[in-house]
């Protein structure tokens, strides 16, 4: 099962995990990203590149499936306006054993952060600013090239 979705509405991680559980794999791993309230940020607005976003998710899932023996992978990313504490992203993987599920999950979120066309705008006290890409994100993505 390979599922990628881009949506403005919230998602339920439990529902997504149940889909992976139902595959009968021995291991299910997941990551859920939430809006942090750093520096008084009260909401985010997420812009994306319709079409390319879905293509980049599909390419990432294919790359993960080529590298690990996955029975399933789900990527869900929200767009539009999100308040502090809201869920932004879900990545879930199912495999026979924990190492493949955990590593594939980390690979997907690390690559998503550097290759999927999303841009975050933070709102603080009625003023907006674009979030800068973090160097650490590029390092996290690049570490998967080494082994």
């Amino acid at each position: 099962m390979k599922t990628v979705r881009v949506q403005s509405q919230d998602f339920d991680p439990g529902t997504e995990l149940a889909l992976l559980d139902a595959l009968g794999a021995g291991a299910v791993a997941s990551f859920t990203g939430l809006v942090r309230g750093d520096d008084g940020v009260d909401r985010l607005v997420l812009e994306h590149y319709p079409g390319m976003t879905e293509r980049s998710f599909e390419a990432l899932v294919e790359a993960a499936c080529a590298r690990w023996p996955l029975l399933g992978a789900i990527v869900v990313h929200r767009i539009g306006e999100l308040a502090m504490g809201e869920r932004i992203v879900f990545v879930g993987t199912a495999s026979a054993h924990r190492a493949a599920a955990l590593e594939a999950c980390a690979f997907l979120i690390d690559h998503l952060k550097t290759s999927a066309p999303f841009w975050k705008q933070e709102w603080v006290s009625g003023k907006s600013r674009w979030v800068d890409a973090r160097l650490g994100d590029a390092d996290a993505s690049a570490r998967w090239l080494k082994d």
Binding site: G33, L46, E47, H48, Y49, G51, M52, R55, S56, H77, I88, V89, I109, L112, K113, T114, S115, A116, P117, F118, W119, K120, Q121, W130, V131, D132, A133, D137
Partner: protein, 85 residues
């Protein structure tokens, strides 16, 4: 040949439009040729492309580098480094 140019995030704001359709001059080979040509269109374009280290390019919805051949492409997008997740 007609080519759609898309701008996202800061690029959309600085240039003032989210997309434009251009007739690609025949001597344009790479994405950096296109950047030089677009920079001459207006002060807004020039400002957006001032620091190429901050510019990312996608050719037909796939991440590319500036030396990529763009002949035959139908959609080229410019945007800052991505910040999803």
């Amino acid at each position: 040949m007609q080519l759609s140019i898309l701008y996202f995030a800061q690029f959309r704001q600085i240039i003032g439009v989210s997309s434009e359709v251009i007739d690609l001059p025949p001597d344009m080979v790479t994405a950096s040729d296109l950047v030089r040509w677009l920079s001459n269109r207006s002060h807004r374009h020039q400002a957006a492309f001032m620091d190429l280290g901050r510019v990312r390019v996608a050719v037909d919805q796939t991440m590319a580098d500036f030396e990529q051949d763009i002949s035959g492409a139908s959609e080229i997008a410019f945007f800052p480094p991505v910040t999803g997740g």
